[in-house]
Structure formats: structure tokens, C-alpha cells
């Protein structure tokens, strides 16, 4: 039944706008005053403010990347870095103000929680407005809370891990992130605890000319396991919005983490997000990533296979339509012995969209007897669109099995004819080919999300073909 319900949702569910009401909206731009103001509004301890100010220094020193999509339209003087919604965080869904509640109702969040999630977080603009977790998990010592609360309630844990996976000077936008971060989720799964149902955080940016800078930090302790789902969307405005979030994942010995993202930012969004995982001995992190929205995305999740016998898999799809430049991919560094990585990427472009797969595979001399297999496929739906693959492979030992396969091609006219000869219209035929192409990703998702992804594909294809 859930399936039917999702399919019946209106095609514009992501694009509804609420009036730009807020309790507080920071003046546009970025300065020491603004950073101090954010910290003050949050009542933060000094150590956090110090990190913010250090990051601001780094931001000013670092320059824009010289590769990848053109970011010249981003003007930080036009972006408000902090927008506090008119509510504090609630633990009861009923207490969330109607307008915000309706937003998440339309996006299907509380329904999903009731049906198949172990916990939910919902962020609206800069702050998390709702967080909940099933009681039995609390008893087992699971922590799932918004990041601001974690700073207050678990300062030692936060201090131990914050910035330790993604350092604050790694690139310009991560420095920006650390200077103005707000919201996000903090998760700790104790030793040996295996969550059967996923946790999900949903990020909604409603306010125009603003940025979202949530920080997600997950620690999966020894032998524990978790599936974490992240969703993001925003209504479309004429001016640029910015998303520069950060995800830091720590998977301890023999732990398992699956991190799934379905991103459908509006097409005025610059999505410059940073995600990284460190895998200890025998640990595994699997990434599942669907990128549909944004005007420009630069998104390259990364796994560091630090411990021996650690593993990672990346399954990603991006769909670039008119006016979109999606530069996505995966990075992996093999450090430990007997480590393995498996990468499968699909990119689709149509109506002049640009989809680029950019990757890094680095296998250090210490990573003997390791395996890495990369497979990326690009599908162009017309001759004005672009798909490209730009892999960098740096293999520093001979004792590895490495394979790399890349294919880029136009949608096959013969295949379209074949399907049409069975009664499918041209649009149906193309949609079926694209859905099939995306299947390696959709089959990695829980059913409800796979349905959602197929619906997004159909939305992207609608009216664009013919």
C-alpha cells in the first residue's frame, strides 16, 4: 500500500514553498561577527567557537577549486548562513508547528517513521525541528540526536571525533562548513548493537538566499551495525542557495554502516557536500547515493580503508537535466591489508545536462592483497547532453587486483525500437531503459525509497522527451 501512496503524490511535492518565516535570519555574508553571532545564538562552549573561528581563517586562506564545474556565481555576500525556524526542537511530532509539520507530512517523513524507521530527524533551514528514536534503542545505549544537542549533552564524544575524519582545512567549502555549521545528526551505536530498522534524517531548506550547513557524525562501534538514510530537498528560488554539509563516519572493528542518500535539491542549489568514512579492522561501509537535484553538485563520498580486511562499496546514480552540472563520484584509499572496494556508478544526462563521474582510487604500498573494482556507465538521452568519466587511479603496490571499466554512450535507438515494437510509446520505452539502467542503485534501496527513486526518474523524464 505504501507503494501506491508514494506514486500518487503530486509531481510538485518538492517544490512547494512556505513563506520565509523565521525567528531569526542572519544578515547575508560571512564575517567574524557573523560566526560569533551564530555561536552565541546557539549558546555554544568556547571550544566550539574556537573551531569555528579557526575554520573561518582557513576559509579565507583557501581558494576555489580550479577543476570541476564553474562556481563563479556563488557570492557569499548574498547568502545568509543561519536561519533559525520559529520553533525549538520537539520530541513529539504533534508539537511541531503546523506549517513545518505539513512540510514534512507532504514529504512523507512521519508516515515513514511509523512504518519502517527506528528513528527520525527533521531539519528545517538551519535547525533540527524534530528528533525521535524508538525507546528500546535508547535502553541499548543508542544515541541519535541533533548535533547541537550532542555538543551540549555529549561534549567529550563530540570533541573526540568532530573534525577528525574530515579536517577543517581539507578544502574551501569544508572550512566554510565548520565556520557556520548548524544542525545535522549525531549517532552512536554501541558495541555489538545491530539496528534492524534504519534511522533517517531529512533536510529541508525553505528559506531563499540561504545556506544549509548541517553536520552529521556517526560512530558505529565494534561489531555494531546501522543503516542510515539521508534525504534532502528544497523549493526552487531564482537566486542561488548553498548546501555545504559534512558527513563524518567512523566504523570500528567489524562494524557495518550503510549510508543511503536520496538528494533532490531544487535547481538553484549549489550542492558542495563532503562525506567521508574511516573503516577500522574488518569494518565495512556501503554508500548508496542518488543525486537528482541541484544546479551544480560537487559530491565525492570517500572511504578510508584503514584497518586490515575492511571493505567498502559505492553504488551511485546521478541524473542531470537541463541547466544541471552534476560532478559526482567516489574516492577510496586502501591502507590496510586485504581491503576491498567495489564501485558501481551510473550517470544519466538529458536536455543539455552534464553528468560527470570523477573518482580517485589510491592503493598504498601497505595495502597488500587488496582488491578494487570500478565500473562506471554514462547514458546520454540526446546529443546535446554530456556524460563523462574522469578516473584517477594511483596504485602503489603490485600485490593488488584492480579493474576499471568505464562506458559512456547514447541511449540506443535500436533498444527504443525494440521496446516500441512491443507496444510501449517512445517515452515509455526511454523511461524503461533509464529505469533499468538505474536498477543497480534502486535495488540497493529499501522498497519505499526505490519506488521514490523511480518516481523521481519518471519526473525527470516527463516532458523532456519526445
Amino acid at each position: 500500500m505504501a507503494k501506491t501512496k508514494l506514486e500518487e503524490l503530486s509531481t510538485n511535492i518538492y517544490n512547494f514553498k512556505n513563506p520565509d518565516k523565521y525567528e531569526y535570519k542572519m544578515a547575508k555574508g560571512l564575517s567574524r561577527d557573523i560566526v560569533e553571532e551564530i555561536s552565541k545564538k546557539k549558546n555554544e562552549p568556547k571550544w566550539m567557537l574556537d573551531i569555528r573561528l579557526k575554520a573561518l581563517d582557513e576559509y579565507e586562506k583557501l581558494s576555489l577549486p580550479t577543476w570541476g564545474p564553474d562556481l563563479s556565481e556563488l557570492n557569499m555576500d548574498e547568502i545568509s548562513t543561519y536561519v533559525r525556524p520559529k520553533t525549538d526542537m520537539k520530541e513529539n511530532w504533534e508539537d511541531v508547528p503546523d506549517e513545518i509539520k505539513n512540510t514534512f507530512e507532504k514529504l512523507g517523513i512521519p508516515q515513514a517513521e511509523r512504518k519502517y524507521l527506528a528513528g527520525v530527524g527533521a531539519q528545517y533551514d538551519s535547525e533540527v525541528v524534530y528528533h525521535s528514536i524508538k525507546g528500546e534503542l535508547l535502553k541499548k545505549g543508542v544515541i541519535y540526536t541533533d548535533f547541537d544537542s550532542a555538543v551540549r549533552d555529549y561534549p567529550e564524544l563530540v570533541k573526540e571525533y568532530f573534525t577528525k575524519c574530515v579536517p577543517l582545512n581539507e578544502h574551501k567549502f569544508i572550512a566554510l562548513h565548520y565556520a557556520v555549521w548548524s544542525g545535522g545528526s549525531f549517532v552512536y551505536i554501541p558495541k555489538g548493537v545491530k539496528l534492524e530498522m534504519p534511522l533517517q534524517s531529512y533536510f529541508r531548506l525553505n528559506s531563499p538566499e540561504s545556506g544549509q550547513f548541517e553536520h552529521t557524525l556517526i560512530i558505529v562501534d565494534e561489531g555494531a551495525s546501522l543503516h542510515f538514510i539521508e534525504g534532502c530537498s528544497a523549493p526552487k528560488y531564482n537566486k542561488v542557495n548553498l548546501h555545504a554539509g559534512c558527513v563524518e563516519l567512523f566504523v570500528k572493528d567489524n562494524g557495518y554502516l550503510r549510508y543511503s542518500t536520496i538528494e533532490n535539491w531544487s535547481k538553484n542549489m549549489l550542492n558542495l557536500n563532503t562525506k567521508k568514512a574511516i573503516c577500522e579492522q574488518g569494518a565495512q561501509v556501503d554508500w548508496v547515493s542518488g543525486s537528482f537535484g541541484s544546479k551544480i553538485s560537487m559530491l565525492y563520498p570517500m572511504s578510508i580503508l584503514k584497518g586490515d580486511n575492511s571493505k567498502t562499496e559505492y553504488t551511485g546514480i546521478s541524473f542531470a537535466g537541463q541547466g544541471q552540472n552534476l560532478d559526482t563520484g567516489f574516492k577510496v584509499v586502501h591502507v590496510g591489508k586485504n581491503t576491498s572496494s567495489l564501485v558501481s556508478s551510473r550517470s544519466i544526462s538529458k536536455n543539455g545536462g552534464v553528468a560527470t563521474y570523477r573518482s580517485l582510487v589510491k592503493i598504498l604500498p601497505s595495502a597488500t592483497n587488496s582488491k578494487c573494482s570500478v565500473n562506471c556507465d554514462g547514458l546520454m538521452l540526446d546529443s546535446i547532453s554530456k556524460s563523462d568519466t574522469l578516473p584517477v587511479n594511483d596504485i602503489q603496490t603490485d600485490d593488488v587486483e584492480f579493474s576499471h571499466e568505464a562506458k559512456v554512450g547514447k541511449i540506443s535507438e535500436k533498444a527504443i525500437f525494440y521496446l516500441m515494437s512491443r507496444g510501449l510509446s517512445e517515452d515509455d520505452a526511454k523511461a524503461m531503459i533509464v529505469r533499468g539502467f538505474a536498477n543497480p542503485v534502486s535495488k540497493e534501496l529499501p522498497l519505499e525509497y526505490a519506488v521514490e527513486m523511480n518516481r523521481l526518474i519518471n519526473l525527470e523524464l516527463e516532458g523532456a522527451i519526445g
Partner: protein, 249 residues
């Protein structure tokens, strides 16, 4: 008996090259027609042109099907009128299962929604008839199928979609003896007095179990000779030389 398919003076290009040069053909309900001819004569072009394959262009002439002029219809519209083609080399479609594909196609052919359980049972039954392992319906459409598996899968689709006219483009080529038997059995299951077959083949093996009404010889874009079922055996022995001479003489 009324004409099911009527092709009148059809001219067509494959790309820029004229391949069909004034072809005429009439098929009635219940009939089985075979087209034979040397390589490059235009046999596959004919089937693709009937189905409005966009790689081919009709320059003049008409195609009438079941009383309706389908000359300018699109491929899917023609398919929904009830014309099916078994492809010589069917396309591989990754990520779409045989089962879901045929179910989708069947849904396009009828007004009522496909009854899932009925359909599932029917597919299982037909797959058994065609010696196809049942788990094949879960595999991606034609992906990694052997030549024989692809052809059987085409016949399975024919049985499921039950078109008024089935056109088989060298469905027997490259098959071993057992596979040819299986395919023949499938054709036999399909055929009745209400539908028709148009078969392109180079060999007579697939025709052994069929009652063939007409054999047409297609040379240089035209049907140059039409005989009864026995003509195929003659061709297999003697080739097309005498028909070519006739045309040039």
C-alpha cells in the same frame, strides 16, 4: 476471407539506399506465408518497414492492416494494432526483468489491467512449453542470453502478446536441432485460424511442422515469384539462380 495485411506497391529506403522497390503482398487470416530470398534482397527491411522502424523510410505505397491504413503510424501504434516481430538479434535491456517487461507490454496491448496471478501462471506454463527454465523470467531482458535463449524469449513474447500477425525474422538461424524443434512447437501453439504468420527463413527445417500456404521469393526489393509450401524445398536444393535470371531476363 478478408485481408489481414495488404502491402501495396511499397518503396522504402534503408538510410539513403532504396531497398524495397514496389513490393506487393497480401496475407489473409489463418494463413502462413514464408519469404525467402538471397542476402540483401530486402527481407528484414520489409519487416522493419511494416513496423515503421525509424531507420527506414517509406517513400511510396501503402500498408493496410485489418482494414486500417497503418502506413504512417508509429511503431508502438502498429504493435498495438496487433503486429508482432520476432527480432533476429533482440536488444539487451539491463535492469528490466523478462517478467516485468512482458507484463508491461501486455498491459499496453489490452484495455484491462493485466491480472498478476493469471499472467504469472500463463508465463510459467508457456516457459515450460518452450523448455525455458522458470528462473529465466527474473533475468534481465536478453542480457547474457545465448542465441537460442533469445529466440525462445521472442517466441514467449509472441505467445503472451498473441498478435493478429506475427512476423518472424530468421528466428531459426543459428539454432541447434533441439532449439528449432522447441521454437516450432511455440509457433504451433500460437497459430490458429484467426491469426497469421509471416516467416523469413533461409532453411526449411522450421517449416517442417507447419502448414505453409505460400512461399514468396524476394529479390532486389520485389516479390518475383510466389509458390506453394513445396517451393521452399526446391529453393533449398537449387538456390535462387533461376529467379535471378528470370528477373534480369
Amino acid at each position: 476471407m478478408s485481408n489481414l495485411l495488404e502491402i501495396k506497391n511499397l518503396y522504402a529506403l534503408a538510410g539513403e539506399k532504396e531497398i524495397l522497390k514496389g513490393l506487393n503482398l497480401t496475407i489473409k487470416k489463418g494463413e502462413t506465408h514464408v519469404i525467402m530470398g538471397p542476402n540483401g534482397a530486402g527481407k528484414s527491411t520489409l519487416l522493419n518497414t511494416i513496423l515503421s522502424n525509424p531507420s527506414y523510410t517509406k517513400t511510396s505505397g501503402e500498408v493496410i492492416f485489418d482494414g486500417k491504413n497503418i502506413t504512417n503510424l508509429k511503431t508502438d501504434e502498429i504493435a498495438r494494432q496487433g503486429i508482432f516481430m520476432s527480432f533476429q538479434s533482440p536488444e539487451e535491456i539491463p535492469g528490466i526483468s523478462v517478467f516485468n517487461f512482458i507484463k508491461t507490454a501486455k498491459g499496453k496491448m489490452q484495455e484491462d489491467p493485466v491480472d498478476y496471478f493469471e499472467f504469472k501462471e500463463e508465463v510459467a506454463k508457456n516457459m515450460a512449453e518452450l523448455n525455458m527454465p522458470n528462473e529465466m523470467q527474473k533475468r534481465d531482458l536478453n542480457v547474457g542470453f545465448s542465441g537460442g535463449e533469445k529466440k525462445k524469449n521472442e517466441i514467449l513474447q509472441m505467445l503472451e502478446l498473441s498478435p493478429k500477425l506475427a512476423m518472424l525474422d530468421e528466428t531459426d538461424s543459428g539454432l541447434d536441432v533441439d532449439a528449432i524443434k522447441t521454437v516450432s512447437k511455440g509457433i504451433d501453439l500460437y497459430k490458429n485460424n484467426e491469426n497469421a504468420l509471416l516467416i523469413i527463413t533461409h532453411s526449411t527445417k522450421i517449416l517442417e511442422h507447419l502448414k505453409v500456404d505460400y512461399v514468396h521469393i524476394l529479390i532486389d526489393g520485389k516479390i518475383v515469384y510466389t509458390g506453394d509450401g513445396s517451393l521452399s524445398t526446391t529453393i533449398e536444393k537449387e538456390g535462387y539462380a533461376k529467379f535471378k535470371e528470370k528477373q534480369h531476363g
